[in-house]
């Protein structure tokens, strides 16, 4: 099976090779013979829009906070609020700043409705990517590169993250200091390590609580 040479499993991961060998038993490389077409990276380019957290693949262009105001007011404010406070149940652009946000979480306050670019986004290039591909909601992906930089810059300014005279561009966005960045920690689950108790698992009375309000399932 020469095809294994180029596969991830060919790297001496014995178990992986075995598993693959079994699961693909009888599938020779020939079974893909003639299927599909090769494509040049140039041809993929129009679709290859994903921006990495560190700014890799940001398109060339720029936009200032000031230039973002008009498009924001025209295309975004109706859902996200003129000041980014959110409208009609749509998400806020900015919530409580760090570390006040974390403090409110510790007090058990609702953290969901309070999320925004200043407390729950690790990297500014992600914000550009999201706005460019997914907003404005009613016409996703219709803004140009410079307009997207400008609107991104405006939203960052609403979050108190960049000053009024800031220019967002493929050169500057990766270095924007996102307040939440250093709070992220990769999964450490499982959180609980239980044994399978079968009898007399506890000896006190269970404290049962039901719904405080009912009829919310509509």
């Amino acid at each position: 099976m020469s095809k294994l040479k180029t596969s991830k499993f060919g790297l001496g991961l014995a178990a992986g090779v075995m598993a693959l060998g079994l699961s693909t038993a009888g599938i020779a490389a020939d079974e893909f013979n003639g299927i599909g077409a090769k494509i040049t990276e140039k041809a993929v380019e129009p679709w290859d829009i994903s921006v990495f957290y560190d700014g890799t693949n940001l398109p060339e262009g720029s936009g200032t906070v000031e230039a973002g105001q008009n498009p924001y007011d025209a295309k975004c404010a109706m859902c996200h609020g003129a000041f980014g406070e959110g409208a009609e149940g749509y998400p806020k652009m900015a919530g409580d700043p760090m570390p006040a946000f974390i403090k409110s979480l510790k007090q058990g306050l609702d953290g969901v409705g309070n999320r925004g670019v200043n407390n729950a986004w690790g990297h500014a290039p992600t914000l550009f990517d999201m706005i460019k591909r997914h907003m404005p909601f009613y016409a996703p992906g219709t803004m140009g590169v410079d307009e997207s930089y400008a609107v991104t810059c405006y939203v960052l300014n609403l979050g108190g993250i960049v000053p009024m005279d800031f220019t967002c561009s493929d050169k500057t966005l990766a270095d924007v200091d996102m307040p939440a960045r250093d709070y992220y920690v990769t999964d450490t689950r499982p959180d609980v390590d239980n044994e399978r108790c079968m009898s007399d698992c506890y000896d006190y009375d269970p404290k049962v609580v039901g719904a405080v309000v009912t009829g919310v399932s509509e």
Partner: protein, 457 residues
């Protein structure tokens, strides 16, 4: 089951605030007790079979359908459920989202009796609405760190060796409305962000070999062709996060089960579930199983997308924000009885439910009718498959008392489903996602079944 066990009904003046370490001691102690042969309680068999049956004396009537002709074949070219089953539908919760276009609907598990979710009842989660993608023109691109960047049509994908498997998909927000307390009075809303289907498509690892993925690639990402162009990063062996910290090894293995799916329960995918193709990543939060898939790129770092930094994250009480919590851990729930399926008089019932784990097969499901003090192992209904819903059942005779019924699943890795209080102790109440805790239902003397939480278990 002894009479005394049946009498252990919940008291409102219960002892409060038992710390988790105390509870762990309890659990360990009780395991030892069980091993030494102490009383093992049974969930059923206490009732003596003495419920008085009514006697029908009135002669039977002919019935409304006996003397008429029914509909001819193909009068309904695509068959629909009986008109008497109109209540079995997906539902949404209007206050959850501002808009139904970026929203979620729920599968009515309370009305389902198998492990397969009918396609029209599969829960939906869209970020920019369900779109109608033309299979004639749809293309899938695979590129990045590969020998041969390639593009495939639907016909191309169907020529390739196919792969079929039954897997659940679960939104990690399943149960999210219950983190802070009891809210929902239907199991459709407590557990309906999960569905299970037979999927057919092309195995990702087969495609990886065909395009020749560079062994140095540690991540791939998948992207859809809907308005949100939803994208998620998927780890492979050696994957590290944006800070250089490793992604847990078991989550870096999940891609080996992945496929590009074009069929769901034997027919083409439904538009709401990604027609004509979707990425399918069994075991992981369903947001990663990108619908309307158009592109897969092999890379050496995560994108850290909007979904990964803003949505599917968990702020923890210690001030950190958990990211890349990808696997859906073991979960289970009783769907009969449940708030939607109440008791209809004393006597025999079968407690039935569903269990699932993103880490593999379900190994055991235990059922308690006394609030988790004593448990009995339920029967697992075959087939039991990896990352697939498993059905369980256990006979139960109800003598009209109050009961706290619950199920607890253990998967093949030995992971035992936790209690809500245990999860809250670690994660607080702002975590939203991955709430896989034991679900309690309270059977009232009236036969009503209510959603409850036990605050000290």
């Amino acid at each position: 089951m002894s009479e005394t066990t049946l009498d252990q009904t919940p008291q409102s003046d219960a002892r409060e605030g038992v710390a988790s370490s105390d509870r762990r001691k309890f659990l360990r102690k009780s395991v030892a007790l069980a091993a030494s042969g102490a009383a093992a309680a049974a969930a059923g068999n206490a009732y003596a079979g003495d419920v008085k049956l009514e006697t029908v004396t009135e002669p039977l009537k002919p019935g409304a359908t006996r003397n008429i002709l029914g509909r001819g074949v193909v009068s309904v070219p695509y068959g629909m459920p009986s008109k008497f089953e109109k209540h079995v539908v997906r539902r949404n919760v209007s206050w959850l989202t501002a808009d139904t276009v970026a929203s979620i609907s729920f599968t009515p598990w309370q009305d389902l009796n198998g492990i397969i979710t009918p396609n029209g009842l599969h829960f939906e989660r869209h970020h920019a609405g369900a779109v109608d993608v033309d299979p004639e023109t749809h293309q899938l691109v695979i590129h990045g760190m590969v020998d041969k960047p390639m593009v495939f049509s639907m016909e191309d994908l169907k020529r390739m060796p196919s792969h079929t498997a039954i897997h659940f998909l679960e939104c990690p927000a399943n149960g999210a409305m219950e983190w802070r307390g009891v809210q929902m009075d239907s199991m459709q809303f407590t557990h309906g962000m999960m569905a299970c289907s037979e999927w057919t498509g092309v195995k990702l690892t087969d495609l990886m070999e065909y395009v020749g993925v560079d062994p140095k690639s540690t991540w791939l990402y998948a992207e859809g062709t809907d308005g949100s162009a939803l994208q998620r990063s998927i780890p492979m062996e050696g994957a590290k996060d944006q800070f250089g910290e490793p992604i847990p090894a078991d989550q870096c293995d999940m891609y080996k089960d992945a496929m590009i799916a074009y069929a769901q329960n034997g027919e083409a995918l439904r538009p709401e579930n990604g027609y004509p193709i979707r990425f399918l990543l069994p075991g992981c939060e369903a947001n990663m199983s990108i619908k309307w898939l158009r592109r897969i790129k092999f890379v050496d770092k995560p994108l850290v997308t909007y979904q990964e930094t803003r949505h599917y994250i968990e702020p923890l009480p210690d001030g950190t924000i958990r990211q890349f919590s990808l696997v859906n851990e073991t979960n289970s729930v009783i769907n009969y009885p449940c708030p939607d399926n109440q008791m209809k008089g004393k006597g025999a019932y079968e407690i039935r439910g569903i269990a699932w784990s993103g880490r593999g097969k379900i190994a055991h499901v235990d059922v308690s009718v006394d609030g988790g003090k004593n448990w009995q192992e339920a029967e697992l209904v075959q087939p039991v498959m990896s990352k697939c819903v498993t059905k369980f059942k256990l006979p139960f005779e109800w003598n009209g008392d109050e009961h706290l019924i619950m199920s607890r699943a253990t998967d093949e890795t030995g992971y035992v489903q936790p209690t809500l209080m245990q999860l809250r102790n670690v994660r607080g109440t702002n975590s939203i996602y991955h709430k896989n805790s034991i679900q309690a239902w309270k059977i009232e003397k009236t036969g009503e079944v209510k959603n409850v939480q036990i605050e000290n278990f």
